[in-house]
């Protein structure tokens, strides 16, 4: 039982982080939480003895996904501003 403590702790972290990702409604903040979920998952995979999977989750979740999300957010905001300007213009 005690041997499973790291697993239980990591599961708790993953559940908390997963819920927080959904509840973070602003995409920028959500991307930070998503990175946190990635870290928690990596820790969980490490205690579940899956270092290969943990490595790929780290590789994807640490920099790659946040970069993609933030670039999308930037473009989306840019588009929204343009569309607002156009409405004012009309």
């Amino acid at each position: 039982m005690a041997g499973e403590l790291p697993v239980m702790a990591a599961l708790l972290l993953v559940a908390v982080a997963g819920t927080a990702v959904v509840l973070a409604r602003d995409p920028v903040r959500q991307s930070a939480v998503l990175a946190g979920l990635g870290l928690s998952l990596a820790v969980l995979f490490a205690v579940l003895q899956a270092p290969d999977v943990a490595l790929s989750e780290l590789a994807v979740g640490t920099a790659f996904t946040p970069l993609m999300v933030l670039l999308s957010v930037r473009k989306v905001r840019h588009n929204a501003r343009r569309s607002e300007r156009r409405e004012e213009h009309e």
Partner: protein, 151 residues
Amino acid sequence: MNGWLAAACALLLAGFLPALLGVCTGPLRRRVLAQNLATVLAALVMLLLAQGYQRPSYTDMALVLAVLGPVGTLVYERLLSDELRAARPRPRVTRAMTVLGVAPVPLVVIPVCAAATWGRTTLKLLFIGGLLVAGSTLCTRALTSPPGGEG
């Protein structure tokens, strides 16, 4: 469960979990700072786990995290610098975050080094520790530097 794993659990619950909660709540700057801290702590947890499970190969996870973690934080600094620099943080916060991000590294790395057999592993561990300290310090500084300042 051995001492290393107990320490990993303790770090996970007493260090990583609060950092995670910091990522989940509050204004953006705090979230990014907390995320940086969480990265460092997760890397340290990985090191403790590697030692606890007697698997030196697990340190690769910490290595990748030490390399990529600061990159992830700098992404925010680069793409959202306006939002992040909207307000100047109190110097106390800056100092506290720097200490929190740096202090645990030697506390974990040195015992793990001592326990591991001397050789390539030790060098790798020290290298990871160095990367973690450098990355954490730099990211905290970049995130808390005053608006428009040279940093």
